[in-house]
Structure formats: structure tokens, C-alpha cells
Amino acid sequence: MGLLKKKDSTSTRSSTSPCADLRTAYHNCFNKWYSEKFVKGQWDKEECVAEWNKYRDCLSENLDGKILTRMLEVDSELNPTKQADSKESSR
């Protein structure tokens, strides 16, 4: 179901993501940081790094590679300036 590699025969409505807990931990950390720091002008450093790394590693192991590639392709089409930045830095 969803973005997972393995086929799941359970109902489409149940959350079967193996990364669900790590996702919740990351999103909770992010929401707190966003409300308490980012919108108050404190954007001098990345936070929730440990939560993000654990969550991201889980996603890399479990996400369907084809869908993920397509997502990131479309994302770079929607953000050409982001692409320009990364091209600049790779020169």
C-alpha cells in the first residue's frame, strides 16, 4: 500500500508503514521547531537531525524505488531554482 515496496493485502485504510513511529517522532520534532524557532526568526541551524536521519534511513529501506525516483524528478521540475543552486555548487 502507499509507497512501500512490499505488497500489502490489508485494507487500504490501515496505516501499515513500518516507518510510522519514526515518522511521527520526526514530524513532532519538526512541528515544535517550526512553531517555537523558525517562525520567530531562529533559522541559524538544522534541528531534529537525529530524528530525520533515522526516519530517512527507514524510508530508503522501505520505499518503492521507482515511485521515489519519480517523486524527486517531479519535485525538481517544480523547483528549478533549487536545481540551479545545486548545479552552481557542483561546478
Partner: protein, 183 residues
Amino acid sequence: MVKAYRQEHVYKHPWERVSAASWRKFADPENKRILSHILEVDTLNRKLDTDTGKLHTTRALTIHAPGPWFLHRIVGQDICHCVESTVVDGKSRSMQLITKNISLQKFIEVEERIRYDPHPENPSAWTVCSQETSIRIKPLSALASMAEKVEQKCAEKFMQNSAKGREVMERICRYMEAESARV
């Protein structure tokens, strides 16, 4: 053929609160019942530019998108994957989200752009949300002959979902306002 429509809504809450509510919209357990068409939301990528105060985020949305029986027979699935690309500019207090479907692209292209900005008449206390959605049935697809009807049905569904989304946003904003009053 493209069907496009625009909607605007004013939240009587400051931009900081509204943009924070937007991040919480899909995950809030109370509100999951209302936004039951959203099955999964995952963050795929994030990047904070510490010089400019710009936050770039990419999320994957898995949506339950059922249609009438004949649509299901043609399209073959009722799950749709979308990518949501967001930029929050902390300095200028602006948030922009662009969401596009990445599955079912043989049949349909949907792009939704949402912006949250401080309200020009009351920038410290109110927020304007403007939303533009475009729906296009691919001309050579099996749906092309009923394109107009399908686009119309999609537009109606999206507008219903937008209304639910706004309801959820207002609820989260009121909750956050009450929380900040208690502190």
C-alpha cells in the same frame, strides 16, 4: 482541455500560526477522520537555507481517490501518489505549496498551488490563503471522450476536500491560539 479554478480564504490568525497549522493538517488524529482521503504523508526531503531563512520540503502524499465504477475499470486503481513541494520564506513570511500527481499521469494531470501570506490589510493578525487548481485529462487517454465530465467531477471533489481542509485548518488554529493563551 484544462479546468482551472481559484479560491481564496482569509484566516483571522497570524501567518506564523496558519503556516504551522498547515504542517499539522494531515497528521492531527482528530482531523484524520475529516481528511480520510489522505492515507499517508511522508517527508522525502528537507533543506534549510540558514542564510536566507528559506525552508524547502518535499513530501509524498498517498490519496484514496475512488471514482464511479467505470472509471475504476479504465484507470485500474483508486490510490494516487502525489508530490508536494513547499518553500517557506521566513524573512518575507510567505509559504507556497505545489502539489502534483505522479501516478495516473497517463490519464490526468492535477496541479494545485497554495500560498499563505500575511493579509495586506492586517498583516500582523490575518493570513490570506489563495489556492489555484488545474485539472487536465490527457487527450489521448481512454478518459478523453468523457474529459469534460471527469474534469468537472474532479473539480467538485477537490473543492469539497478544500473546504474540509479549511475546516481542519481553522480548528488547528483555534487550538493553537488557546494553547498560546494558556502559556
